[in-house]
Symmetry: C2
Subunit: 593 residues, 2 copies
């Protein structure tokens, strides 16, 4: 393609995009005018609060219309000396609540003003959308003409009736927690980031692959994995089984052997006197007894294998042939392995699913169950990998700024007043890239100059600690930075060995507030090098046959990375505890609902 | 809003939509012209096959350009008496492969023609895109000028080298399975349906909620659930613990009691003779011995509780205080409970995540691990619920027809020649709705008229079997049908009781080829009715406190449904076995990778 024509096309594309954007804005507002009823509430004829307050003019276009709004009262107060009340009604479609004015005579039909103003009360209100006086926060309010539904809420017993409740307290009321302001905002932010994730990868030609949750792969280190089993549930089945000791079994075995001898003798006697019917009968009886004893022994042997309700192998470990998958099975810690299988067939894939760690960690940064995004790309080297990671994170930030304005404003005001600025900076600035060796030099320099003391010593070869990572991104670069080419000894065996023989093509994306957000690498695609790395690591090469097959049959350079979804939300919101950014957090001793 | 103005706006909206669609089509083609390089392969300068063959003109626009294409050889053959070879190169971005012509002199630089033509070989080819002769299947082919990468593939050992391999065989080669034609097509169809799911719910104002995978909720029936535990992994820790029998423990207990008496006596003697130092010393010695015995007993008691490597309660069941979550934990069977928590705060939510059944089922329709979509809506009754289910399924069909044409054509040709017609019909026709009572009457009628015999008898009150469901949708209505208002006795306690007192507001969506695709209901939102239903079911009301709280504090009418994602793919593809439509199927005895 010639440079000139390319520029011409580029300009055309630009102009087309602008035209489409303009038309879409007009379409959006026209659609709202046309269709204010939320589609899956036709029976209730309900309009979402976001349809009213989320429009560009703050709902003015709908003034004069009769609308129905359903939701929960955030706050309510009587006014006009008992002539009416104001309700802030929230339906979760937007951070903001719609102000609803209910005249006393309307309220009286459903139990009076008091019954409506309690926090947590649900209402479906029909009314006319009115303009509010100039200077009021919202441009419109709903003047109720009819209350169609009231779900009362007793303030005296409502667990989260108070305005300010601690995060710890809310964690004990997980089923009501999404009704709290911050948790509601986080839910919408989490939703937006999840959809941004899908949009980004879909727009860029990645296929979404559901890698397995239950895995029996031998490659996974069983160290900090949850086991998935039906053996404990089966204990009951073995309850009546008599317990047989080793001694009893020995006794039976001896009896069996003795009877064996007896059979031999009886048979010999019978054979010697073929005409003797008594000897023949005795021989038959001996055989019958032997068979009975054998059966008894087999049963006892079977019983002796059941210890504490679980069938065992001779060494006392559970006999996993009895388990659901006929072998030990675990909850996945990563979908990378299976992701590589798919990338080495379909080129560009991503996963987005739950992953698990059975770590006894009670920190604000760890969960036993969390969600990960793991793209994997064929014909992709470390430079491409870094670019993809950067584009993805920046896309998410942009999407959030465009779609969750009210939530971010609340977060910025109540949780972290640098949240919006951080998102804006990340959305608009290319990430820095620095090699591990350069990063170590930079850190050593600030230590040498006495600018900063670290708890952990800085030397080439160390695994960077969170303090180092955060100093790099927050103090030295003051923006996201990608560190690449790490020492091979601190990274996984599957990362591609660089020419220098001492580093691997690995990269970490470090961001302010969180530190490491993404870890990725180019994968070792050379069969011989990979085999050597597995052997050097003292691992069982037979367990990696499938993985090695990818290098045997049409190997391609490929790369990928993993992002902990909750870390991304921590980064976006500035919240301190990861337990607040997942709907139902799991940690040691805790799995409510 | 007046009817007239509404019609005017509707026309405007129509026209805006058409304008945008037209501009977008132009934009798409211009973008392709501008940017043929796949963004995360910049280092390799690679163009996706979909960019070439997936465009409206079949790639003609790019004729004359120098492009690089990377992928795997589907088939290769030498031609022109050894002067060149043709490779069908597939990169997974599209069902179709791109034809690449490699002259002998180009191939010789990388080992000759033979090295390239083996199925499964990976190549990165640089060449010129040429027009093919009129009448050729594809409009373009790549004429190689350089081969930049070859990953050889030995046809003699390559497990899936043969053209036709059975599904069963492919399941044993799970890591190479996505390279097979059908499995590749299914991967793209699955991806399209997953994204369609997200798009549909996002466009309609639903929030994506990640309900938990590990659950310790008392409400879940533990019947067919997988248990999640760290107890089996801990067995090793108890390996050295001496085993203490009940008799030994009794002996120690008796000793302890005796020593207690001894202490009492010694103390009394010492108290009677306060000056006697020997008696005081004897008393002290007796106490010391008692303390030592107590310690010994405690240790023995602790040891006696460890049976078969697991600490037990007195009744022999595991002591779950020792487990990771301090109580029994399981893999979720549904996110509905937690979905309701969120819908009763944020109005409209959906889940899309893995669910599990520890059922010993080997059928072609069951998996131990599968993905479910569960929307839940506040201020939504059964009619709205049915509408949402219908709109969602039809949206998915439309999306698939628009985005996976080549894959569907292959499926239609090789798997099920009614697949495309079925999708088109569903996309374009509103679903029938029929009450359970009407459905039973219809089925009884065909039985009475001798038109059809069923294995299971048809009577009001029965749970519809797959044979009944399929007959309704495939024979009677010949299209998707929603059956609603089922007898309360065959449905779950949480479904809203209808006025008749004998049916509940439940619905099932039945589709040809699969039968039941969706099950849903309006939830019982009346506290007293729900409590009664729980009691009637003989369930423990205390276990449902959180669920009842939703009805105590601002209750709202709400509804939801569940769709098994793999069932949707079976419906779309007509494949017979559910193990083919999930990347890593799990069933009893099987969990490879």
């Amino acid at each position: 393609m010639e440079a000139d024509s390319s520029t011409g096309v580029a300009a055309e594309v630009e102009s087309l995009r602008a035209q489409i954007a303009q038309l879409e804005a007009t379409l959006k507002s026209k659609e709202k005018e046309l269709d204010t009823v939320y589609p899956y509430s036709r029976s209730y004829n309900k309009t979402s609060v976001v349809t009213i307050l989320g429009s560009e003019d703050g709902g003015k276009m709908l003034i004069g219309q009769t609308l129905r709004v359903g939701g929960w009262v955030k706050t309510g107060r009587e006014a006009g000396a008992g002539a009416f009340c104001f309700l802030e009604v929230n339906d979760g479609s937007l951070f903001e609540s719609l102000q609803v004015m209910v005249p006393k005579e309307v309220a009286d039909e459903v139990g009076g003003l008091k019954a409506l103003t309690a926090t947590g009360t649900s209402v479906l209100v029909e009314g006319r959308l009115d303009a509010t006086p100039e200077g009021t926060k919202q441009a419109v309010e709903l003047k109720a003409t009819k209350i169609l539904h009231v779900g009362p809420c007793d303030a005296a017993t409502y667990p989260i009736a108070k305005k300010k409740t601690s995060y710890e307290f809310l964690r004990e009321k997980m089923h009501l927690r999404p009704r709290a302001n911050t948790l509601g905002a986080v839910s919408r932010i989490r939703n937006a980031l999840a959809f941004a994730t899908h949009k980004f990868f879909q727009e860029n030609g990645f296929l979404y692959v559901h890698t397995p949750i239950i895995t029996a792969s031998d490659c996974e280190g069983a160290g900090e994995m949850f086991q998935v089993t039906t053996l404990l549930g089966k204990m009951k089945e073995y309850e009546g089984t008599p317990s047989v000791s080793a001694e009893q079994l020995e006794t039976l075995k001896a009896e069996l052997a003795a009877q064996g001898e007896a059979v031999k003798a009886a048979k010999a006697a019978a054979a010697a006197n073929k005409e003797d019917k008594e000897l023949a009968a005795a021989s038959k009886a001996a055989v019958d007894k032997l068979l009975k004893l054998k059966e008894e022994f087999a049963k006892a042997e079977e019983s002796s294998r059941i210890v504490g309700g679980i069938k065992r192998l001779p060494d006392g470990t559970p006999d996993y042939k009895e388990d659901f998958f006929s072998k030990p099975a675990f909850l996945t810690v990563s979908g990378q392995l299976q992701g590589e299988f798919y990338a080495c067939a379909l080129s560009n894939i991503y996963t987005f699913g739950p992953t698990f760690r059975a770590e006894y960690s009670f920190t604000a940064r760890h969960l036993a169950e969390f969600w990960m995004i793991e793209p994997e790309m064929a014909f992709c080297d470390l430079a491409d990998d870094m670019q993809c990671a950067e584009d993805y994170v920046r896309y998410c930030c942009k999407h959030l700024l465009e779609n969750c304005q009210a939530d971010l404003e609340f977060i910025n005001k109540m949780v972290d007043n640098t949240a919006i600025a951080r998102l804006q900076q990340v959305a608009s600035t290319p990430f820095k890239r620095v090699s591990y060796t350069e990063a170590i030099d930079l850190l050593k320099d600030v230590v040498a100059r006495g600018v900063k003391k670290f708890e952990y010593n800085v030397e080439w070869g160390i695994d960077l600690q969170t303090e180092h990572e955060r100093y790099l991104t927050e103090e030295i670069f003051k923006q996201p930075v990608i560190v690449y080419n790490y020492p091979k000894d601190i990274k996984a065996f599957y990362m591609r060995l660089n020419e220098d023989g001492r580093t691997v093509a690995a990269m970490d994306v470090l961001v302010p507030k969180v530190g490491e957000l993404i870890g990725g690498s180019q994968r070792e695609d050379r069969l011989d090098v990979l085999e050597q790395r597995i052997r050097d690591g003292g691992m069982d090469i037979a367990a990696y046959e499938g993985y090695l097959d990818l290098r045997r049959y049409g190997t391609v350079p490929h790369s990928g990375f993993g992002l902990g979804f909750e870390r991304l939300i921590l980064f976006a919101t500035g919240l301190d505890n990861i337990r607040e950014v997942i709907p139902f957090p799991r940690w040691p001793g805790n799995a409510s609902y």
